[in-house]
């Protein structure tokens, strides 16, 4: 099945009809071909979708939608690990497409090619786009040069989600982990990202802290060493 969701792909120039302001698409429009041709490759409602941001969704609506995603996945799996995997794959789907969209919206024309800058891109630019704040911290795991952690003190997705005890340590931020994984893999940094619960430093139980642990492929680390 090929139900494609496409933000604009990097390779396709947008030919806008004359008179349209292209400030939002400056990164994508090929400056050499002006709008003299006058034909739009996309129908008007799609151009509109790219040029202005859609209205925001109410948190309740999104929380319920996310809860239904989890419930749907839960009905089709036999174990907690499988459920986390399904949520992660859903997130990878989103993350792959989100990368191009974030670059468009945040006017990020250059793709990061080094490890730390791409992680900083994720924790600041992408986080700001998604949650209007930066991630709480980005750390490297001691003694391991391919493992990093993004700490999120109050993750938005799981604000209204409580995990019953029979599901063990399921962390529904597996979806967020999948998104990060999708973005990193699409940027050329093969990795696996998982979400873990971490006890809070002040001893309170709520809101629960989540850590996204990123494990990069050895090839990525090797490339990084070679480039520096």
């Amino acid at each position: 099945m090929d139900s494609t969701l496409s933000a604009t792909t990097e390779g396709t120039p947008l030919l806008l009809p004359p008179g349209r302001s292209s400030s939002a698409d400056a990164a994508m429009v090929d400056a050499g071909r002006s709008s003299a041709a006058g034909t739009a490759l996309l129908p008007p409602y799609k151009l509109a979708a790219l040029q202005r941001r859609p209205p925001d969704l109410h948190l309740s609506a999104f929380a319920l939608l996310f809860a239904e995603c989890i419930a749907y996945a839960q009905n089709r799996v036999l174990s907690v690990a499988e459920l986390e995997y399904k949520l992660q794959q859903l997130g990878v789907d989103v993350g792959r497409r989100l990368l191009a969209l974030v670059c468009l919206r945040e006017r990020q024309v250059r793709r990061e090619t080094r490890l730390l800058p791409v992680l900083r891109f994720i924790t600041s630019t992408v986080w700001r786009y998604l949650f209007r704040k930066v991630a709480d911290s980005l750390e490297r795991v001691k003694d391991k040069n391919n493992e990093y952690m993004i700490v999120e003190n109050d993750p938005l997705f799981t604000k209204y989600i409580s995990v019953p005890s029979d599901l063990g340590d399921l962390n529904c931020n597996a979806f967020l982990a999948g998104m990060v994984m999708g973005m990193l893999c699409s940027s050329g940094f093969a990795c696996v990202v998982q979400a873990h619960h971490v006890p809070r430093t002040d001893g309170a139980a709520y809101p629960p802290r989540t850590v996204l642990s990123i494990q990069f492929d050895p090839a990525v680390v090797q490339r990084e060493v070679q480039m520096s």
Partner: protein, 210 residues
């Protein structure tokens, strides 16, 4: 509502599909905007991509677009059941005493509050038992290209229909809701038809001691 049921098929004293004064379009629109401003918001594009990933997963799992429509409606139904309480708590909308009043509240307040979309009511049936909610913008379908195989069979935003059905069922209206027009199929606007099937009346549970 008991009076409406007892009216029978004789000529009603007033046209059932007219609305009382506090359901004016402007008042309800203002209510919708205020409710959405008070709320915490989530990036609309993230929501669009999340919903799209969900639909894509359903299409992969079920393959038949008719079945996907049914599943989306069911998911929406579960959402609607919970959304009704949330809506009543947050919106401050006036209580609806007749079915036709729910039309304006859903279109002007609920759509604005939850989706950020300005919708309006159209094609209200003569006896007030059905209406259409019409909206041009659909934030859930922003980045969607429908493949030709699915285009005329899949209603992409069928979740909305389920949500309306679930929410109205929580206020004792059993309805059938379906898409009539969808921008993704090439129509000029989106149209959802809501038709009343049955009105339930709340009864106190039977006293078991007697």
């Amino acid at each position: 509502m008991a009076q409406d049921a007892g009216r029978g098929s004789g000529a009603p004293r007033r046209k059932v599909s007219t609305l009382p004064a506090n359901f004016s379009g402007a008042a309800l629109t203002r209510l919708g905007e205020q409710a959405s401003q008070r709320a915490e918001q989530v990036n609309g594009e993230l929501a669009a991509l999340t919903y799209g990933a969900l639909v894509r997963q359903l299409v992969v799992d079920y393959e038949d677009p008719g079945e996907v429509n049914v599943q989306l409606e069911r998911l929406g139904y579960n959402i609607g059941l919970r959304l009704a309480d949330d809506f009543l708590a947050r919106s401050g909308a006036p209580p609806c005493r007749r079915f036709v009043e729910t039309s304006e509240v859903i279109a002007r307040v609920a759509f604005r509050m939850y989706l950020g979309v300005s919708a309006r009511v159209a094609s209200v049936a003569e006896d007030g038992s059905a209406y259409s909610v019409v909206f041009e913008e659909n934030p859930l379908a922003d980045f969607v290209e429908m493949p030709t195989a699915l285009r005329d069979q899949l209603w992409f935003s069928n979740l909305l229909c389920g949500a309306i059905r679930g929410a109205l069922e929580m206020v004792q209206y059993v309805v059938s809701v379906s898409f009539v027009r969808d921008v993704l199929r090439g129509d000029a606007y989106n149209e959802i038809r809501v038709a009343l099937r049955e009105q339930r009346y709340e009864r106190a549970p039977p006293d078991e001691e007697l």
